[in-house]
Symmetry: C2
Subunit: 140 residues, 2 copies
Amino acid sequence: MMNYISMLKEHGLKATFQRMHILEVIGEYGHKDIDEIYAEVIKVHPSLSLATIYKNIIIMSQSGVLSEVPVIGKKSKYEISKQDHIHLICTHCGSIEDKNIFIENKNSLDQLVISEHFNLEKKEINLYGVCSHCQNIKAS
Amino acid sequence: MMNYISMLKEHGLKATFQRMHILEVIGEYGHKDIDEIYAEVIKVHPSLSLATIYKNIIIMSQSGVLSEVPVIGKKSKYEISKQDHIHLICTHCGSIEDKNIFIENKNSLDQLVISEHFNLEKKEINLYGVCSHCQNIKAS
DNA sequence: CTTCATGCAAAAAATTTGCATTTTG
DNA sequence: CAAAATGCAAATTTTTTGCATGAAG
């Protein structure tokens, strides 16, 4: 588990407490959008401004510390960057769960990329549906 | 090839010329965002309002005529709904290309969904990178 | 003709910017 | 200290809304 100070410094960003706090919130919850991050963060630091959240989300996404997860019909969520994985996105409660799977079919994707002469930078696989938790709620 | 009038009617939407025009633009280009649709559409119908574009994108997305394609760092694009496919998204020129591939590894995704008791509604696979066209431009 | 859709202008929401002040390394 | 980051308020951009008018089925 890498610490946020070194993550920031390795990307040439100063480790302000505002950034640390933003990263802690995202790290704790996994995926959060701008408003959720702001709401969470001002509980501890009421003076932390929304503009600072915006500026930092942008700079930390550009530098690669964070990754944007665009979601159909909603605002983008942000997560701490990590190796490629799959998102299970619940269309009922909005939760996002990460799944690391060994993409066997990796082959077909890789072959596609090769045959298209496409210079791949990032794979994004999102599965939308109803999570088991929400299915149980509905059933009861 | 299905025509747009019946597509709309099957979803309980009236076939106004504004909707037809929006669908034609999206169909012609494949993927367009709100502003691009508006810019294209007012060439022919200068009085068509942006509010109408918004309202229709929303209602046609909800009804399933259109599908939203959220893109990292950009505004969402919209496409005519069709069966699941892969998007090759160029981070250089912004173009999006559809690819229908036989997901062999379909198995691993399907197994994941089953083991998670996830009620799958939609698969979204987006590959980000530099398209062959942009690579050639850079090289020259 | 009745219901639904449009267009306009206004309102609301989301995001960005400029700049004086503060903090980090 | 010098460079970078913050916070505030203002500006901009994006999206939504209400309502009178017009079009579709």
